[in-house]
Symmetry: D2
């Protein structure tokens, strides 16, 4: 039994205990769930370890509610516990580097499951590592439980991030959603009694985005961290070992890096001496067709172009192009006595929320305070940004200086 401030007591059986005690899972104790959000919300020091436990806990409830058999239950619980072992230091902050240099994201965990201590334990408890990896990466008929629109991963992290940041919007009625989920031949389906709880999850996601996940101060810190990571790797650091580090190792690696840029930036990050926004605009200020791919090489090459226009060093410009929000709850089906309909069709709230999410999207260009004017001009030129509307201007001012 493990005490968790979000779920209360979490039961751990022998299978889970063995997986829990392996180095790849214990490593998650030293990886912050929300990357650099602690620079905005001082309480946000929670780790992937407790999130893994919490997700496993909700998976247990889901399996019981769906009356899954012993084997399926063991599969889903193990996958829930292991679903995040592929994360690098500071979680999502390092992800773009992982995708560019290692050709997989944090959910590509096949290599971690098929060798080492975990492989042995999975064999002992009768699970196929390939099947566990398939659940984690979404290629399994039960994957929606962990990797879908209404999955236990999301229910855990919304509640957990709310608990540690103090932002109230993340509260989700996880147990109502779990009890309203039923398994049909086509996959997980929601019963009508769960519609309002599903809507509230959607509202939680929508309100947590600008307040936490896309708070500009976290974004700035994460993009600075990425600049440091690239500089470190260009100066002899190995990307493959970097993404396997935990937070403390990574901090010290940058502190002792051969790259002066990496050393400078980690110092700035940990004394909260951050870049500022030179550009921060919504979709109305930019030709949507011109929004570039949000991948790392593209961001770097645009940052270099802007830096060159502005006459500053390229590591002093960071370009942040988040993926444009797609529709939520695509494919969630609701089962009534007589019929099955898609959730979007029956819920005006969901249709409304999709519009709102798109209006929350921001393109950012960040640089040290002293270059803000030059970089702003250069970036406006490069992106052909239209004069900001009154609303956009207000949004920058509103968010300025929040958190610490």
């Amino acid at each position: 039994m493990i005490k968790d401030p979000v779920h209360g007591d979490i039961e751990v059986d022998e299978d889970v205990r063995m997986l829990l005690d392996t180095p790849p899972v214990q490593r998650l104790r030293m990886i912050r769930q929300l990357g650099f959000s602690f620079l905005v919300y001082p309480g946000a020091n929670h780790t992937r370890f407790e999130h893994a436990l919490g997700t496993m806990h909700l998976a247990t409830h889901l399996c019981r509610s769906l009356s899954l058999d012993r084997d399926e239950t063991r599969l889903l619980r193990s996958a829930a516990l292991l679903h995040d072992i592929g994360h690098g230091p500071f979680s999502h902050a390092i992800e773009p580097l992982m995708e560019s240099f290692c050709d997989h994201g944090h959910d590509g965990v096949d290599h971690l499951l098929e060798s080492g201590e975990i492989a042995g334990i999975l064999a002992d408890i009768g699970l196929d590592p390939t099947e566990v990896a398939a659940v984690i990466s979404g290629r399994h008929h039960l994957a929606a439980a962990i990797h879908g629109e209404l999955d236990v991963d999301r229910m855990d992290y919304l509640n957990r991030d709310a608990h540690y940041t103090g932002v109230p919007y993340g509260a989700v009625d996880a147990h109502r959603i779990i009890r309203s989920s039923v398994l049909q031949p086509t996959g997980l389906v929601l019963e009508e009694s769960g519609v309002q709880a599903a809507e509230s999850l959607l509202v939680a996601r929508t309100l947590m985005r600008p307040a936490v996940y896309y708070h500009h101060v976290s974004r700035i810190a994460e993009r600075m961290f990425l600049v440091a990571a690239i500089a470190h790797c260009e100066d002899g650091g190995n990307p493959g070992s970097l993404v396997r580090m935990d937070d403390p190792d990574c901090i010290v690696a940058f502190r002792e890096s051969k790259s002066r840029i990496a050393r400078d930036i980690i110092h700035r990050l940990l004394t909260r001496d951050l870049y500022k926004r030179a550009v921060y605009v919504g979709v109305s200020s930019i030709n949507r067709a011109r929004i570039p791919q949000p991948d790392l090489p593209e961001s770097i090459s645009i940052a270099e172009e802007i830096a060159s226009h502005a006459g500053v060093h390229s590591h002093e410009v960071s370009v942040d192009i988040p993926p444009f929000p797609g529709d939520m709850m695509i494919g969630v089906l609701v089962k009534s006595r007589h019929d099955i309909v898609s959730l979007e069709d029956m819920s005006p709230l969901i249709r409304g929320m999709n519009d709102i999410r798109r209006s929350q999207w921001r393109l950012g260009v960040y640089c040290p305070q002293e270059h803000r004017e030059a970089v702003s001009l250069a970036a406006t030129e490069v992106f052909k940004i239209r004069p900001a509307t009154k609303q956009d201007k207000l949004m920058i001012e509103t968010e300025e200086g929040e958190g610490r």
Copy 2:
């Protein structure tokens, strides 16, 4: 110092204590805040008394934050404490009768302030009853504090109703809104730092409507109660004294009424033997131009028409036409460094929520289970209701049977 489960400790100074100990305020201890919602949410037994205290408490914070002077502070605190003394038994449930027979709503409190014990105390503490009444009914330049879009009344009841029903959606960051409110010559204005908290209040209101305030079981009970009240008055009961009763008096008055209808209905209510929905449709099923005025005489005359078509007694049909939701946050102004704009203009969330609220509107016709089919046919005819869409049908089924 009074302990409140929502706000913690509430400070009560001598002025407030004197007003608190008057019979019209003590009477609020016996009036349920949410009428018959306790039939859906067993915890919803909270009263107007604690809501009055909580509203006064938030008003104190607001006055301090606005740096109001002693006189204005005393005025606003007293108005906050007294703002609901005009309520009748079961709060909003009796309101239509009050409006029809007494020509004022619960905020018409002039007569209660200008005589009796309260008048004396107001005089003692140097307040003009007419001015207090003006704040309460919205005819004063400080009235927005208690009677506006972002008022302390609303901040208290959303949080309070969430606490007692257990529905999580009502949580509002009241202190952030209060601290972001500033007084301008034109009235209360919101600073930009409060925009997100204001949005969350709006989301809270939107989610609490179908879950609590317009939950069909509460609505059915409230409309049945109104049928009983009318029958009681037709059989010799006095509407003027009825609206001055508290909940226990009213229950016993109906139990001992000369009207058999009133006696039957109060028994049904308190054993939870309720009418059912014969018709329950959204705005897409009815010609919006044909939606009648939501006042009592109109509802009664339509109920009689339907009853006559269906061949049942007129008290066995209740017609529920809620007011069609207008736009929220109309007139809330946001102040930036350079400019003042309206909140709707800058917040896509607010525009979205207004649409959602309109889609939540329902016209209901309720009757005993055994007449459901006949009344449904008759009402469909009378209202020219279009065949329900799949969504409407789903909504009825979803909500069926919730609560107890």
Copy 3:
């Protein structure tokens, strides 16, 4: 599924639903759980109905954890739901009258189970009313689940009273206690993993006593209520029907009583114009051997004696002699790997708490403010009260004026 602010969602199956919809259970909606505590804690308007639901909910968890069979589960759940249907208006406030005039307390429910609608339903679901009554009154081998030192009744009300009063001390880790309970041939036994949770329940009880259950303002109000009840019965009111009333009926019965005393007192209660403490002393100020039986006839006869000495009417003096606290957790056994020991033997906390509870005991004599001096002198004489120690004096002053 019913929403409860304390436990979240409560599942209701068909058996429970049928019992829930009977008049004796629905009646509990109109009986306040904490009698007149709402005069101290304005939020304390919660009812026996929701407590019955919550107790049934915890009983369900306990049955599952003990792996009871279908029949035992149905028995315990029904007993939990019905365990408080014997309460009179304002719960414990009327209890002394019930015991004196009706010869049973609120847990003597045989007559309510063996006839009427409940008897029929119990027969339908295959339960013997006598057996259900035996569980409720503590004469059954499973009774400890509902009627013991670590029962689900207590776990529910401590948490619930904390939620509604706002007093934080009642929080109990119910699920830990439930999961640590095991059934042995001799009865319920606690596993060692539950010791700390059991201790916390004990601390909760100890801290809630002076803060809530024995708060002097509630006690004064309850004793005044009892004076009214006796006067009402002496003037023609029927004790047997009085104890079957709900709160609203009782309020109106007193308002319309032939007894002027009953009419006066209910008016005083509902405008919070309460008696004051003439005497309020702990065990150190009185010869313990002289503490009289805490029953109603004895209290009345002492009150008359004091009133006569003081020269006031006998209904103007109320004597409050709470039962002297016995030891808690008597008979709770803890099971280790090798041994079974009693909880008191292993927990110094429990031994300490028993002493503390005894020091919290107070003998009170209450009367209208204007007779305070005379009654104080007379009562000091009658009880041979020793000069109050400095501590006792401090305690009176400390508690003075709390709540409203």
Copy 4:
């Protein structure tokens, strides 16, 4: 304004902001508040940084409640913010080393305030570093606010540790204590209205000790950490720089230490491969006069003696002698209308709690699992431990295996 999950919004003025942005305060972001408690409570990753903010926040409320002037307020708020900058990595875990090698504890911060960036800022805002240091170390007439029995430091950490561990017992009514504190010529005094809140703080401390602060798994990890630290310093590490590190630096320093012992132990700690209890006894099993001084040199020399008896390496034995609990609330005075008395004199709860705390004291000897038997025998011999009573045995079994 900074969002804090414990206190809600925390206001930061310009003085505080300047101090907050200095490296010694920012460093606290990387020091865990509860050392190695995260190995028991996975949520316990909170840092000294947020605790410093929270303490400053409560100090602000206290200053306002005491009506302190601008200068005293600035002094107390700054002292509250800076009071923990002297902590080393993993907070209390490194403290014994700091005391032995550096001759001061974490509250000896004179050297940190009198030079560097903080000295400059203190000068700018008109504060004398010596006076700030005097408040922090308890040598100032206002020091009790931060360094007393009812100080804001304690109110913050009890609530905060409860929030992050999920252990419910830490909830303290900080605002009630603050509002009941008054300044007398002799120092801070409690008004009677605060007695119950002060008692609840005491209960919180008493229940949090065995559950969190002295949980054996945390103690084992902290003592292992100390063994590693000593080994690291013996192999060339510098104690003076070690205590100035933050957590990540310290982890990596041990990972890369010249000492194999330090490298092994940090690996064991971060994969949760911990020593076990060879001896764990309460005060009844040992001659109290024989309990040695709880300082580092004494512990080490006893560990060496035991190791030599048991035939194991001395770093494989860790001796844990916590200071024997003194009386709580010594010197807290309570002010009534007529008198001032000490809190212990008027509160039986406090006297009871002091006994309970002494019964919670444990002497521990820890070693790797494989040497448990040998070390147990040797330690029993060295300490002349009496055969454990049944209760002691139970306590070990109860606590075994808790947390993860």
